[in-house]
Amino acid sequence: MSKKKLEPLDEVISVPHDASIYEAAERMKREAVGCLVVESDEHLPIGIVTDRDLTLRVVAWPVDVKATPISQVMSSPVECVLEDEDRSGALNRMCALGVRRIPITRDGRAIGLVSLDDLTERLSADMGSLSLGTAGKLARARRSEHREEIAREAEALLKELGSRLRRANWYTRKHFLAELDEVREKVDKALKGKAL
């Protein structure tokens, strides 16, 4: 797993603590996100709210969504990771807290968000390249094995041809041409295999 600095994989969308639940939901829809960071007047993250939180805390137990501030239904305090933590650190924190998203902070302010979906996507991409790399390596190994085999055969054939040609009579010359055809056929086959 990457030990690089944690990249803010997602833009963090913040709302002020006194925004209404209605405004927060509107923001989630407009920005197509499932999570908002709730900020204090000093723009510090004081809570977090997800679409599921709103379903279970608001839709299941209706309140006046235009008059109730989001701070009343947010999860608080919010756990954050520092931007110099690595991916596995963020993942460990998510596991420990049982959450899917964690804001990334710099000097106390939320500058991005890392979500389990993003990490999964990155991890899958890594695994994909890894499998492709392994498959490529195997294919190369197979090809080179094949080539070595052909080279060995060709070498043996040439040796044989050489010794026959030294004795050069009509019989050898006739077989020389036949064997040359055989070599050509093998080379053609090998080239086709390489193209595949």
């Binding site: 209605y22 939901a25 499932g34 379903t55 279970l56 608001v58 839709v59 299941a60 209706p62």
Partner: protein
């Protein structure tokens, strides 16, 4: 790859006349993020926690029914498809959950991307452990290894 059978869960269903509030309470009770919506005996759609939230809060009316905000038709696969085919169906339709239908078309369960991912992750974890074990075994002095092997 394997069939999806091991990932199939019993479907959690609500009737299309259920209110958003009642559906949200069902999600909480059953710890799920989506419900299959039925009309009589037929599974007609699916509704997620996000659907309930957006519709309920933005219309400021949680008393309306799930019929108003469900996704139709229900994206479903046959119980005989492979994991690969199920994942492909999710990708094409941009959904994370699928209904699963039996031989006569009746809904027999649901599969979720989370569940499949979790299973693959567990398998990868086991694979990683096997590789580590292999490395550790190779690092052992060969005389020790021989002794150990003969003891096994």
């Amino acid at each position: 790859m394997h069939s999806i059978s091991q990932f199939i869960h019993d479907p959690r269903t609500v009737d299309e006349d259920t209110s958003l509030t009642e559906a949200a309470r069902c999600m909480e009770r059953w710890h799920v993020g989506a419900l299959v919506v039925t009309r009589g005996d037929e599974a007609v759609g699916m509704v997620t926690d996000r659907d309930l939230m957006l519709h309920g809060i933005l219309t400021a009316d949680c008393g309306v029914t799930v019929r108003e905000c469900m996704s139709v038709p229900l994206i479903a696969v046959s119980e005989t498809v492979s994991v690969h085919q199920a994942v492909e169906t999710m990708r094409i339709n941009g959904v994370r959950r699928l209904g699963v239908r039996g031989a006569s078309g009746e809904l027999i369960g649901v599969v979720s991307a989370d569940e499949i991912w979790s299973e693959i992750g567990t398998a990868m974890g086991h694979l990683a452990k096997a590789i580590q074990k292999e490395f550790a075994a190779e690092k052992e002095p060969s005389s020790l290894r021989k002794t150990r092997l003969s003891q096994e």
